[in-house]
Symmetry: C2
Subunit: 218 residues, 2 copies
């Protein structure tokens, strides 16, 4: 029966995620996961091709949770700065329990061949969900974001989110408050920077940044 199979898979995933959170990446060995889940090592590999695959499972779950809480925070409308801040803080909230795990996570995720890599094929659904959140934040902003930016901004913001996550991983301050301050400072700053689009001198620079980012992407 397909149900039993799904149960084993779930049990493995749940056990792994729990152990990652509680005792970290290295101590969570495949043998330990299998033992804790009550199956053999080989069986764990029947469901997950690698330990990285289990990390991917964690990534997907965190991303889903982020999308959900962020969508809630984005109901109604507000300035781009405040909306961006809400999305970023929601992300930090969701990741918080995994901070100790962060370094190992990033080190795995950054490998282009890893399923955990945010740009990888395997991460497409998670990445799209995350991008959608930033699109929502941009589209619902009042005053509205300049039209010429509206298409590119979400992706750039998502990229910035990756950067902030990186900063967060390195942030050993209590409660990662430095990252919180970074978000509080950067979100409105970014929004105000964009309003420079109306200054004649700055508009040209902004245009160049946009066209560079477009030309690089292909």
């Amino acid at each position: 029966m397909a149900v039993k199979s799904e149960q084993t898979r779930q049990k493995l995933a749940d056990t792994a995620l729990h152990m990652f959170r509680e005792i970290g990446f290295e101590k969570t060995t495949m043998r330990a996961i299998a033992a804790e889940a009550g199956v053999s090592v080989g069986n764990a590999y029947y469901y997950f091709a690698s330990k990285d695959d289990l990390v991917h499972e964690l990534y997907v779950q965190v991303q889903e949770e982020h999308a959900a809480t962020a969508a809630l925070a984005l109901e109604g409308s507000g300035s781009l700065g405040s909306r961006l801040g809400a999305v970023l803080h929601a992300g930090l909230d969701v990741m918080a329990p995994y901070h100790a795990f962060g370094a190992d996570f990033v080190s795995t995720a950054i490998r282009p061949t890893s399923p955990v890599n945010p740009f990888s094929e395997a991460s497409t659904p998670a990445r799209e969900a995350s991008l959608a959140i930033f699109r929502l934040a941009v589209d619902g902003a009042r005053p509205a974001v300049p039209r010429k930016l509206r298409a590119d901004l979400p992706e750039l913001l998502w990229l910035g989110y990756m950067g902030i996550t990186l900063f967060w991983v390195y942030d050993t301050s209590p409660g990662q408050q430095r990252t919180r301050r970074l978000v509080d400072g950067a979100a409105p700053l970014m929004a105000r920077g964009l309003s420079l689009a109306r200054l004649p001198g700055a508009a040209k620079v902004l245009d160049d940044i946009l066209s560079l980012s477009r030309s690089i992407r292909s």
Copy 2:
């Protein structure tokens, strides 16, 4: 005799770096390095505490070479944009032979506890040398960089260099030409962006960016 000891160490380092370049990180096993160098595995560990330590050796060497070639390119003076471009291109030149190795390198380097980590204690000399290059690029720029930026800019540029390296690792275009284009576009753009410091509207934003970057750093 201390000479023989140093010879063994050198032989191991040379062998490892050569193998990293030729056959990649994973295939370069400690056993293979030891065999190729004509010593036992245990002996390799007498000189290098870990495989990461050997990667650190590579990092230091690449950094030294970068500092040397960049210093050469910075003789005389020129615009900040062109000087920045020269430094960045010099970096790409030096790293080029290791592009295939890049992913594994970054994945190792990004782990905060690794000796390869650019922010780590072990990397302090290499990091300082690299920072010095950017300081040189900024100080020798004509027209001169606005005074209030001169202190912070080198570190920010170095950080940007880390970002470009990350981009380069992911860049699978032939000869990493997309990264080359990125440098060609971003270097003058950055310089022109700074010249906005004189526009009254933009100056405030720039000030805020600076003070944010300062407040975050502590």
